[in-house]
């Protein structure tokens, strides 16, 4: 039987051939104008937008290889600045502190938020000034100047702000819409004012996974923060235009040098366990955060950095001394969850487990913790001694449902009222929009999608290339393909969120493919080999001043069945499957024969 061994080896070799024959990455041609675009695989908007961008750039002669990656792969590459370009959503808060994180050169460290390695000393200077002044108007002016510079440089291209699309079950009325939608940690109004026409007094909000950590000091994700915003009070809250409104603090003053903030607390505020809330509790909270270096909450990073000392002249006054002025200091201290001193004094580890919640989860907010059925739901009840307007609903339940589909079916059945996160998939949005059983609320979301370049890597080291890409992208088409779930934006500080913090006169890059081609040619790119993709050949680009006719033939060849370029994993060409499949079948049959022969 070993006579057939050679045959066997031959078959084995044949099986390997198709793998070897698959074209691996073609030999890297430095000169070709192409790059890899990372998109986030589980985010439908990111993937779709990436595909559209690739098609649009192909039209001006730029080859884009889209790779849809999981965050576990993508984020480390971004952290290490090991990428060409990426396109996904970044989150924004009610205050534009991200403006510093994204553009200041000091933030270009491994894992830093200046993921595009943008370095501009002038911008650095402006940002430093803007973030160390207590004068809001001066800060705004500095913002405008910095943004104008950034927009000229195009370190990344802002694409659109996602829409927060929420569906409510029938019968529910009177939610508050603000940036980030009706259900968000910044929106303390919806749960207070919402009511049901049919008299239902229990609101059910779906979470895709557990709301943990329940500790307001450890809460570091939207789900946990939303829960905390219901159970814990903050000194200030936000109105529908994200302007600070009095909450626990009925008024406040900021000193002229911006280094002292005085909060005047409401009187007669009670904790859920009946004890009174005083300035002691507020001071304790701030000091606890600073001492324990807690990682949860919304602005704690700034709080730890800024806080010098806290004074409590009387039971209802808190005076905060800052180490340095900060234009958003009010938000940093105002939007911190206040915890009761008499309970937290005893808590050593601020990230206590959920099983401790019944003893520890005492706040002063409009809802109080009732119980948490692990993995199932979290039940909150209206706190009847709350200082403010009594919520219309008596109970608020946070229910964990993993699948979006199941959620929508349950909202249709009326078992669930709405969900925490806005819908991220055009398909689901389409489903809820057309469904007569659902009420759809659309607001601007906190996710801004952007096309980012690694500014340290060729060809993005060339400013003209970045600008050309900006001209070559038709944001309208992207948003249309996304079934209109995005709001186009050209700003780096979003007018829709921050009003006059945004510079209304930033240079805009209207869709103009001809201008893009022109810029690219100026930068030395020309289609040398006639394949529709530009190559870097400055000596050829310059002499022939009139644009070469070749650029006209750039039309994509759509009749070919060749798919858009993809990653190497994809089996390409028919022969591979054919050969491998047939050979494996043959092997199976032969195997059976050999086996038979042995009998």
């Amino acid at each position: 039987m070993n006579k057939y061994k050679p045959l066997f080896i031959l078959l084995a070799l044949l099986l390997i051939i198709p793998y070897l024959a698959t074209p691996l990455k073609a030999s890297p041609e430095e000169k070709e104008l192409k790059f890899e675009l990372m998109v986030l695989s589980w985010d439908g908007l990111s993937v779709t937008a990436g595909e559209v961008i690739a098609e649009q750039l192909k039209k001006v002669g730029i080859k884009v290889e889209v790779s849809a990656l999981d965050d576990a792969v993508m984020y480390p590459r971004i952290d290490k600045r090991d990428y060409d370009a990426e396109e996904m959503a970044y989150g924004v808060d009610p205050i534009p502190t991200y403006f510093y994180d994204r553009f200041h050169s000091s933030q270009d460290f491994e894992g830093g938020n200046n993921a595009w390695s943008y370095h501009n000393p002038e911008v650095d200077k402006l940002l430093d000034q803007a973030f160390s002044t207590g004068d809001v108007n001066k800060a705004k002016e500095l913002f405008h100047r910095a943004e104008a510079l950034i927009a000229e440089d195009v370190p990344y291209i802002p694409l659109f702000l996602a829409k927060d699309v929420h569906a409510f079950a029938k019968g529910w009325k009177n939610w508050t819409v603000m940036p980030a939608g009706p259900i968000s940690p910044y929106n303390k109004l919806t749960p207070i004012y919402i009511y049901n026409e049919d008299g239902k007094d229990t609101m059910v909000i779906r979470y895709p996974s557990a709301p943990e950590p329940l500790s307001p000091m450890a809460a570091d994700n939207g789900r946990a923060l939303y829960y905390c915003s219901l159970v814990y009070d903050t000194l200030i809250a936000y109105d529908p235009h994200l302007k600070p409104i009095p909450w626990l603090a009925k008024s406040w003053e900021i000193s002229d040098d911006g280094k002292t903030i005085t909060f005047h607390l409401r009187e007669g505020v009670k904790w859920h366990d009946g004890k009174p809330l005083t300035s002691e509790d507020v001071a304790f909270t701030f000091n606890y955060i600073k001492e324990k270096k807690v990682t949860g909450g919304i602005y704690t990073v700034h709080l730890i950095r800024l806080l010098d000392s806290v004074e409590t002249p009387d039971e209802h006054t808190v005076v905060v001394h800052l180490k340095s002025p900060f234009p958003f200091a009010l938000h940093v201290f105002g939007y911190t969850f206040i915890v009761p001193k008499h309970i937290w004094e005893k808590i050593d580890e601020y990230d206590w487990p959920a099983s401790k919640a019944p003893e520890y989860a005492v706040g002063s907010g409009p809802f109080k913790f009732v119980k948490y059925v692990e993995g199932e739901y979290l039940e909150l009840a209206r706190f009847d001694d709350w200082w403010g307007k009594k919520p219309n609903i008596k109970r608020l339940i946070i229910k964990i449902i993993k699948e979006d589909e199941s959620t929508i079916l349950q909202i249709k059945k009326g078992e669930v009222t709405t969900f925490r996160y806005g819908l991220m998939s055009p398909g689901l949005i389409k489903a809820v929009r057309k469904d007569p059983d659902l009420q759809v609320v659309e607001a601007i979301d906190q996710w801004d999608y952007l096309l980012a370049f690694n500014n340290k890597r060729w060809p993005f080291t060339i400013k003209e290339v970045r600008q050309a890409i900006a001209y070559a992208i038709d944001k309208k088409e992207i948003v249309k393909k996304l079934l209109d779930v995005g709001i186009i934006t050209d700003n780096y500080v979003f007018e829709q969120w921050y009003g006059d913090w945004a510079n209304p006169n930033v240079p805009k890059y209207e869709y103009n493919p001809e201008k893009a081609k022109e810029l690219l040619r100026k930068a030395g790119f020309v289609d040398v080999d006639g394949d529709g993709i530009l190559e870097y050949a400055p000596e050829k680009a310059k002499p022939t001043t009139p644009s070469p006719t070749k650029t006209q033939t750039v039309q994509p060849t759509t009749q070919k069945p060749t798919p858009t370029p993809t990653t190497t994993e994809k089996p390409s060409g028919p022969d591979m499957t054919l050969v491998a499949g047939v050979i494996i079948l043959i092997i199976i049959v032969l195997a059976a024969l050999w086996y038979l022969k042995k009998r």
Partner: protein, 292 residues
């Protein structure tokens, strides 16, 4: 030349022998037909797909129409074309993953069975523990270590699923070791490696490959699930990936049955094809069962 002719003749006789027995199994024929049908579909994909499955050719979420018999997906790509191309991916993954796992398993089994002693003890202890570990969680853990994507799914499946073939290979090797021709070879003074390579390997592989069928079923099903929960590559449309997109884009809430039912049926039928073939091969090849 003469040797080759002889070999071909022997081969032909064996094929016809095998075929004579196999064809009596109606189920087996059905299974084979299904597999061949899918292979044909995979091979012909570029010629029979009405559209390029990678490009959006219409608006997203179009209902089935003469132009798009199964409608379009969330990017406006033709679902029928995607489904046909998906055959390639799913088939490829199923075959590759099971092939690799069978290779690993056989190697381990051969070594353990042939050398015996401490090597055997250690390898089989490992195999025994792994064989009982639930496969899907293990695959998930591996994917989390390796990262996502088709290639890593293939790897994860292979790394987890090799144990069954290791067991079989070991027991075959053990019984072959006692056969007269091996003893004869030993008596003539053949080295261990030579015996292993010339006498045992050629006899172990055929049986193992017959078993590979069921590994293919498991690989296809595992792949579809891993893709479905989002560990696949969104740019490589396997059927599991289509279902992932369907679920992500609310196909059920929308009532897009054409987005959900066909991919599931495709997975099921292909898996069924291999399962039936495996079952029939087992019936045909297992002399114990044939005797009665």
């Amino acid at each position: 030349m003469k040797g080759l002719k002889l070999r071909l003749r022997v081969l032909r006789r064996r094929v016809s022998n095998f075929w004579r027995i196999y064809r009596t199994s109606k189920l087996g024929l059905a299974g084979l037909a299904i597999i061949l049908g899918y292979v044909a579909l995979a091979v012909m994909a570029p010629y029979i797909t009405p559209y390029d499955p990678f490009e959006s050719v219409a608006l997203p979420f179009e209902e089935p129409s003469p132009q798009h018999p199964l409608g379009t997906d969330h990017l406006g790509r033709d679902l029928l074309s995607e489904l046909i191309y998906g055959t390639r991916v799913s088939l490829m993954i199923g075959l590759t993953a099971s092939f690799i796992s069978v290779m690993i398993g056989t190697t381990v089994g051969l070594i353990a069975g042939f050398f015996g002693g401490k090597v055997d003890t250690v390898l089989m202890r490992l195999t025994d523990t792994f064989i009982q570990m639930p496969q899907l969680p293990l695959m998930l853990i591996f994917v989390s270590i390796l990262g996502k994507g088709i290639l890593n799914i293939v790897l994860a499946i292979s790394v987890v699923a090799w144990t069954a073939s290791a067991r079989i290979a070991r027991s075959l090797t053990l019984s072959l070791k006692e056969r007269p021709f091996v003893e004869a070879a030993r008596a003539v003074g053949a080295g261990s490696f030579q015996i292993l390579w010339r006498h045992i390997v050629p006899n172990v592989f055929p049986v193992i490959f017959a078993y590979a069928n069921i590994a293919v079923v498991d690989a296809i099903l595992s792949e579809s699930f891993l893709s479905f929960i989002g560990f696949g590559d969104p740019r490589t449309p396997s059927w599991g990936m289509i279902l992932y997109f369907a679920s992500r884009s609310g196909a059920m809430s929308n009532g897009f049955w054409w987005f959900v039912i066909p991919p599931g049926l495709m997975i099921m039928t292909l898996a069924l094809g291999f399962a039936i073939t495996n079952y029939s091969l087992d019936q045909v090849l297992n002399p114990r069962l044939r005797r009665r």
